[in-house]
Symmetry: C2
Subunit: 165 residues, 2 copies
Amino acid sequence: MNNFKDFYDSEEKREVLSVIVVNKESVLSRVVDLFSARGYNIDSLTVAPIHNSEYSRMTIITNGRARVIDQIVKQLNKLVPVLKVIEHKDAIEKDTVLIKVPIDQNLSDLDVIARAYNGAIQNVTHEAVVISATDEPKRIENFIKIIEKFKPLEIVRSGVVSMER
Amino acid sequence: MNNFKDFYDSEEKREVLSVIVVNKESVLSRVVDLFSARGYNIDSLTVAPIHNSEYSRMTIITNGRARVIDQIVKQLNKLVPVLKVIEHKDAIEKDTVLIKVPIDQNLSDLDVIARAYNGAIQNVTHEAVVISATDEPKRIENFIKIIEKFKPLEIVRSGVVSMER
């Protein structure tokens, strides 16, 4: 059991958290500070207001030891402006990426690939094309790898939004 | 000119900022704190690592008086872990929403509407359907309004990601 416990404590896992908070200017800092105080990096964070409410919903992706994440979740639950914390087990996750590539690349190929990842060509200028894709985070990573051959000038990812199935 | 200046100072405007920061656990707090210290709410925030780099990119949407936002941008630029601040003027913006509706709603209608907003049905259980949409923030607001008649159980927005055209 001790071995198992050590393993459990030392193994890093990817954790997807949704945190429902009161929509006030100081709340985001307080939540983010809980992670940085433990030296925990937030890999991806999205925050947006919840429709017709006084609340915002944060989706946080972090990697860390299970025990430390449990502590963070407990402390999040203690913060007054936090209404609810959801530790996702079986969630739909979506990530969006915008990529700018030089105009001299093959536009038909770009269009076909973007559409395979639920995206499209978003803008064309004399210098560059911007394409989008929205898909699961792992598929977005694949998409970025494929687009590398088109010599991307700029890549922007949104961070992950998630909802339990 | 004085009148114009007063107007400029008092008028709230929507501002889209991209902030390129060193990918370290304390940086997100420091950036967010700059806003909350002035009582400024961040309406939408997305953070994700920049591919093949030591940096992360934050997209921040805020509403405020131009002068205060100018001050925030100046202070952001002074922070050591901040590499660059972009005040977007003509950007492509994308927002993603996931909406869960009860299973007894018209699925064909849901499918057609979701596809009109670059989305799709993402999951179906015995109780509920999850649909997605990815579009400009204003169109996502329209989408949410239309879906209201399907009695949504849960609505999650990602926050905005943006890139200059």
